[in-house]
């Protein structure tokens, strides 16, 4: 077909639509149904992008250390390193969109920001464990210290990145000025949650999941697990909402839906050993609450080694990490109570990590407290 054929086809389509709308009162719904399926169809191949300009300044194994230079204001004394969650999703949660980015919040407060971008694991890295991720975190911290000349930096851990930053700080307190954890499971038995209940399945079950992917944990399985906790929402309700938005021509809501679903459905692989280490040490044995109960590369992990100021965030409606599981960190560290700040957001799990309200109301509070750190 040449260009004039396409034009002609458009004209025919227009005539057909006008005619159909006249003769069939339900034809409008058909068009909307087409739109509905087109929106969902576009989500079949989710993609991952960063919103704020950045450069990869260091790479090793699954780590790509990204630097987000602060072009507007750069007057904070210490840089910030963000450790995003590692639950099968992409690390760009910390820089979700131009309007909804944790990087942007730290930038506004004058911080230079770094993120450990954990890349999808390949067969080569299937045997990386918790000790390796702490080692990679240490490499990232050292790289930042080396290029900025700052001896102690602020570390911010989101969800799984939260326990990871707490474990890291307990092992390398001398390199960390302030520890911030957000929606991070620390004492998993401090409050009931379905994710912890699920984790009590026999270890063989999780080993089976890993073996199905030749030593890697498929993010899709983890996503399925999350969805199963609110099945009606994820498999039914949100589609009704989409249909309502299409009916009401709410383009903003449709745009927000597509953007979020694209992020949510994008999954990646974790090294199987790392995944099994987490299940065992954190979700089964609750070892973060036991001083020196497990060791990484021969060094016992003990939260009591943490002495720096600690900021703990948790979401009131978080069903994945209920507040009590996150706030439990305060009872384990040696930081004086007046230097431990608890921030309870109004949001749920993802809302606490990157929701517009949490960024505006709670992450700004984190920044204001950070400013007090010497």
């Amino acid at each position: 077909m040449n260009l004039s054929d396409f034009k002609k086809m458009d004209e025919y389509m227009e005539i057909t639509h006008d005619y159909m709308l006249k003769v069939n009162p339900f034809y409008g719904d058909f068009l909307k149904a087409m739109r509905y399926f087109n929106v969902l169809d576009a989500l079949n191949n989710p993609t991952a992008e960063w919103s704020t300009p950045n450069n990869v300044i260091y790479e090793n194994q699954t780590l790509a250390l990204r630097h987000f230079p602060n072009k507007r204001l750069n007057d904070a004394k210490r840089p910030v390193l963000i450790l995003p969650p590692q639950a099968g999703h992409h690390s760009n949660l910390s820089d979700y969109s131009a309007a909804q980015s944790l990087v942007r919040v730290f930038h506004r407060y004058g911080y230079d920001v770094y993120i450990t971008h954990w890349q999808s694991a390949t067969q080569e890295y299937k045997d990386l464990g918790m000790n390796d991720y702490i080692r990679l975190t240490d490499e990232a911290v050292d790289k930042i210290r080396e290029r900025t000349g700052v001896y102690k930096i602020h570390i911010v851990g989101q969800c799984q990145g939260g326990w990871q930053s707490a474990v890291y700080t307990s092992l390398h307190q001398e390199k960390i000025a302030t520890l911030v954890t957000a929606a991070a499971p620390i004492d998993v038995f401090a409050a009931p949650s379905q994710i912890v209940d699920n984790a009590q399945l026999p270890m063989e079950f999780f080993e089976f999941l890993v073996s199905r992917n030749n030593g890697l944990m498929n993010g899709k399985f983890m996503l399925q697990g999350f969805k199963s906790m609110q099945a009606e929402e994820h498999y039914v309700r949100k589609y009704f909402r989409l249909w309502d938005w299409i009916q009401n021509n709410d383009e903003d809501a449709i745009k927000r839906f597509s953007y979020f679903e694209n992020w949510y459905e994008y999954t990646q692989f974790l090294p199987g050993r790392f995944y099994l280490d987490i299940i065992k040490n954190i979700f089964k044995e609750n070892n973060l609450t036991k001083h020196g109960a497990f060791s990484l590369d021969g060094v016992p992990v003990d939260m009591a080694n943490i002495t720096c100021p600690v900021i703990i965030m948790a979401g009131k409606k978080d069903h994945i990490t209920p507040p009590a599981q996150a706030f439990a960190l305060k009872n384990l560290v040696s930081t004086p109570p007046e230097d431990v700040v608890e921030i309870l957001t109004d949001g749920g799990h993802i809302g606490t990590l990157m929701g517009t309200e949490a960024l505006r109301e709670d992450w700004t509070a984190v920044n204001e407290v950070l400013k007090l750190a010497i």
Binding site: A99, R104, R108, A365
Partner: protein
Amino acid sequence: MKTVKQQEKYHLDCVKALKKTQPWSLGSEVEKLALERGDHAAIIYYDRVITYADFNKAANRYASYFASQGLKKGDVVAMMMAGRPEYLFAVAGLSKLGVISALLTPEVRGEVLAGSINMAEARAVIIGHEYLDLFQGISERIRMHSPAHKLVECEERCPELPPGFENLGELLAAASEENPSTTAAVNTDDTLVYLFSAGSSGNRKAIPVLHKRFLAVGHKAGAFTRMNYDTIQYMSLPLHFNSGFNICFGGMIATGSTMVLRKRFSVHEFWDIIRRYKINYFVAVGEMCRYIFNQVTRRDDADNPLETVICNGIWGGLIEPFKKRFGLKHVIEIYGSTEGVGSFINYQEINDMCGNLNLAGVRQGEVVRCNFDTGELLRDENSCLIKCTPGHTGVLICEINELNVFTGYLNDPDATEAKLVRNAFKKGDLYYITNDLMELHDGDNISFVDRLGDSYRWKGKSVSAHQVSDVLLKFFGPIDDVTVYGVKVPGMEGRAGMAAMTYIEGEKMDWKRFIQYVNDRMPEHAIPLFLRIVQDSEGVNLLDQLKQKYKKEGISPLTIKDPMFYLDPVKESYVPFTMETYNAILENRIRF
């Protein structure tokens, strides 16, 4: 009994004596007044009449309690309380120990307020019950020095206090009413309070006020503004304002006169209060006089005891009609800043003037030429600043000397240095740059023209454009960049805030959340009245570079093609600003 002339001479002698260190302080003056005029009313607060003897005893209780907590000379107590007698008892009592009161500005919110408290490095904070919720909202962002007491002034109410807060009234009950011995160790070179100001650029700053300045301002009120010991003044300005604290309270202490104190200004009750308490003296900021004048005319308008109005920023055209309608003897315009270098009092009452470069034969400052766009002071071939001649406009600079001390900004040497100009006219001299443009007139009289730099005045209060844009930027959402500046609004004093903003591509503003956000974080006078949505700024901070251009464009929709919004005073939300709205402002149908 001294005549008025004798009193004026006494105050002038005191001002001159303050050039040297004197063993005087707020505390010692209160003790003296308690001895000499113990039965005279110091404060009338609704139905409470507090004599100078009562005032001194109450102040002593504060001194006694805080001394028992280990507070000593040089320590700081932060205060956040509405204007009531306890505020002044606390400051006076603490001053007897040499303890500095940090007079917080509760109109500011969130991060900015927490920053002020942290800046003061206080060992305790006194919170009026009316600000308890506000304080709790920021408590996690506050750091104080030990013992870090959080004391609530309950005003005879007994609210259930949250854990960690103590009822100050209960703690004071057992405290001594005797004069403490520490008062004698405090002199005029010691710091009395910290006041907070937007300054002319950057974030809020704390300004130490010495006893010397407090007493000098008070005695100048006695010498030049007809305040004497028979005066009954009406005081409804916030006590953390320079004019409220230094002029009104300073004047009351220097003259031993009476203050009728109210928490806030109410135009509807104004004349009732004036007549009821036989008030003859009133200190106002510009808008207050306009509000009073805009009330419906009554036949008995001139039948009142008010004689003198001291005003900062009154519109020149209003002075004569205001004076005539209310039968006033004097309307005296003054000019000053929280930093407090130089005194400018139009005591000769020359219309439209805000003062004179000389006060009682002492030179206060000069008006010098500058680059109006950059604010840079211009120098001649001998590297001296160039003084303006009558009829010309320039920046007012004030000489820093033994009486006009500039204490600088607390822990901010860079901001302090930026306000100084050295070797202005001869080697070794030192001047304070006001950043205010003044027109020089014959006889060294000056009139206010505009404010340079990053701040502007609205509703009688300084607004830091930098701080407002910082708050707006932290709304995040669609806002990519913001620059804030003051714009002239026809028929209004000062400049209203205008925020020029760029949006992130494809994002939209949630106006409901936005207005809620600004209301929660900014005092009313700082909330920008106008918003202008500018197309993509094509680069970081470009908006700031365009600020001068935008400032000149003002608010006229004839000049500005960008979409504009204004804060509708009735709907209390931002609505599109159209030619029709602009005309309504020109025709006085919309007032702010």
